[in-house]
């Protein structure tokens, strides 16, 4: 099959990238439980990336490409993070960590966006309609994740940065 190595590369990029986004969104949501909108929307958006991972696995398998699906954080670590977040919810210092965590999600999602672009380009050139449809379903949601991070950073950063 021509371009199989390229396809494997592009699939691996979106797969690893979506795992990173899931991980970052989950961490964002867990760490910032007292920033309630962040907490709730991050969890909503992490379900998109988890759903992408499932779809990627199915589509890749159709092209004889398989991944070790690592899954999200094991529960004990998640629990520890929640506890730490609750204990530190009321911090006197401005919440720089929130800006940093939003930035991490934004960068991770941007990386996935580029990966989706590459995968879709492979599909265009290789006439792989199933992959084109996959990218057509998932990539717009990645872009929405990026826009969300950008909006939240734009909204929250003036207060955080000017009160340092």
């Amino acid at each position: 099959m021509t371009g199989q190595a390229g396809l494997r590369y592009a699939f691996a990029r979106v797969q690893r990238g979506e795992e990173a986004v899931t991980d970052h969104l989950q961490r964002l949501g867990e760490r910032h439980r007292d920033d309630h909108e962040i907490h709730h929307v991050a969890r909503d958006l992490s379900t998109w990336s988890r759903d992408h991972l499932d779809q990627i696995a199915v589509a890749a398998a159709g092209h004889d490409i398989r991944f070790d699906h690592q899954g999200a954080h094991p529960a004990p670590i998640r629990h520890l993070r929640e506890t730490v977040s609750t204990l530190t919810g009321r911090r006197p210092e401005p919440d720089m960590r929130l800006l940093e965590d939003l930035r991490d999600v934004c960068l991770a999602a941007t990386e996935v966006s580029l990966a989706w672009e590459m995968l879709a380009q492979h599909a265009q050139a290789g006439h792989e309609e199933d992959i084109l449809e996959l990218a057509g379903r998932c990539h717009p949601q990645t872009l929405r994740q990026i826009r969300w991070c950008n909006t939240m950073l734009k909204t929250l950063s003036p207060q955080v940065l000017t009160s340092l």
Partner: protein, 791 residues
Amino acid sequence: MEDRVGDASARERLNDLWGDRTPYDRDGQWPARTDECYADGISPEGVQRWVPAASLLHSNGDAMDIAVAGDRIVGVRGRPGDRVNRGRLDIKDLYAWQANHSGDRLTTPLIRRGGELVPADWDSAMTTVADRSRRLLDEHGPGSVAFYTSGQLFAEAYYTLATIARAGIGTNHLDGNTRLCTATAGEALKETFGSDGQPASYSDIDHADVIALFGHNVAETQPVLWMRILDRLAGTRPPQLLVVDPRRTPVAARASVHLATRPGTNLALMNALLHELISHGWVDHEWLGQHTVGFDELARQVADCTPEWAAGICGIESAEISHAAELAGTADRLLATVLQGFYQAHQATAAAVQVNNLVLLRGMLGRPGCGVLQMNGQPTAENTRECGANGDLPGFRNWENTDHIAQLAEIWNVEPLQIPHYAPPTHAMQMFRYAEQGSIKFLWISGTNPVVSLPELARIRSILADGQLFVVVQDIFLSETAALADVVLPAATWGEKTGTFTNADRTVHLSEKAVDPPGDARSDLDIFLHYAAAMGFKDRDGQPLIGWSDPESAFEAWKRCSAGRPCDYTGLTYDLLRQRGGIQWPCTAAAPDGTERLYTGGTFWATPGQCESYGRDLITGASVEETEYRALNPDGKAILKAARYLQPHETVSDDYPMQLITGRSVYHFHTRTKTARVPQLQAAAPRVWAELSMQDARRLHVTDGALLDITSPRGRIRAAARISDVRPGVIFVPFHYGYWDTEALTRPGPGAPGTAANELTITDWDPVSKQPLFKASVCRLEVATTAVDDR
């Protein structure tokens, strides 16, 4: 209490909440019926002066006259000539004027000294407030100062406050409690029509053949509007009602179709209704093609949303959904209304926008009997929105449009950079978060009681009681919130001050001062003007920033700011409002009689240069960029926006198996600061209750009147059980019952159970409108004791 209404006259209306019927036919004029109520021993002949006003304790804007004798308010009477109510008044407005005379009105400023609030004079109180805000401005900048206002002041006060906050202080932190009641209405209108502004009119009730009420218990939230619907129902060619509500409300009891959906599933239901409209061809494609964008995306989004799919999510029969869709899809004149059942529920804006889509798909806009009423809950919430005291900019201006900022800079004669426009104005829930974190250090609360009305009260109390936050409270009584303040400013109330207020269908009324306020209490406008003078705010020429000094000059200033915008007031004057009564904006030289319906020609305020907002992602709340908006909607059409249903954030579990929704009773307003001081209203609903279904009552061995402990992940309250026609699995608790009339004043006393529904509610808000979700919590019930409530 003096000047009391006699018991006999009160009983009459308390037993007959909506009064006698005056039936009328479709397209007829709603007949007048004058409601009135006077103190014992007073007859209309004994009244010395009649002073025009409008109703205060809901959003309906019912025109009324205040009866005055011996410089006291002695009663009220509806104005039969007014377009809104034709003489009718609801029970709250009939009786609540008595609260003005309460012996515990605030009559002097208070300053906290040695932990106690002690009386002070105005100069020392205002000097304390101004000194603190000036010092914070110098040391920490404008982001340390915030204002949280109301939906119950007058337009003149809001516009003055917006000018102070945006141009004087230069803070982005100004919002109203309208965030809790009307934020989603405004946002849904912006998303669909590019700009805020109520499309339809109350008079559309007279012409509609189907009225669809989405989460809108109009019988209790706007009783006079319900009287209008009841009179249509009693006439020939009555309308059919379609009602979505988990409770069998008085409105649902009269419905042709009542969908008692599971809380949190409104969007799934709406998507299924739209699916049915499209699949049955109940769509005006020609109108859509001329006046909207986005149909293909909407059709794609709802393609799989069959009634069968939604039925499983909403917990109702698919045939009921099909029946509802047929009713809406085949109506000749469809009027849709929306209120808190949608605005305070999961995916609030997305669901409210689908109601807009419902009328747009049918091309039913801008004609008699057709359209949408995105409602609100407070008398002047509309003014909070227009004047920019609500987390928007004055005159429905767009914070991302530099031309709009330049207009404001010219109106206020300040540098454009002085007006914060680097991000959306901060919403109330975020302001409380900044206060919790310590970056907001000064919070001025006017005319609202967040210690009872915001979600998760234990958290709100701890934020306001924190010594680091300087809290100013401006109110008419020592509310739960005022009791936690550093400075309390006594305000005049309705009947003691002059100003305009605008109801949910854009009708502007002038409400005039009838009597003096008690003691040293002052109007909200005078308090804000006093502060502006103490702060010495200047424009860029060194002249006072605020060039007005009384209600009428403030109104003239607001008119200049409204010029050329959707809410154009330039054709209105105090004299015209005195002569004519209620007039709907826009009122201009071109439309001197006001405007009954917006968008009559299918034209909107939605071009990129006009619109108030470029919109948001209905799921994430992310801002749509200007360039995207220009590409999507270059010609300023209405936008059909779609969204996918998501699982609610908090779902039932073994620990918390019931869903909790909160809401209003017809007898009380908000946190009862006025209505509990009215003997008739307080006696009608003296203490908190919880409604549950017969099925749940049997399962849990609950008898009517039994005391229930209701526990959520946030807290616990105790309430008397009321077995009612609420959906099984759902508990309804009214949110009115705080602690100001208990010994503990601000919170449950030691060992005493809580009574405020918001002890239980989750802190979560709609990512688009930022409206808190009061109908999105879970809870469990336990019988506290089987002793029957003594009422």
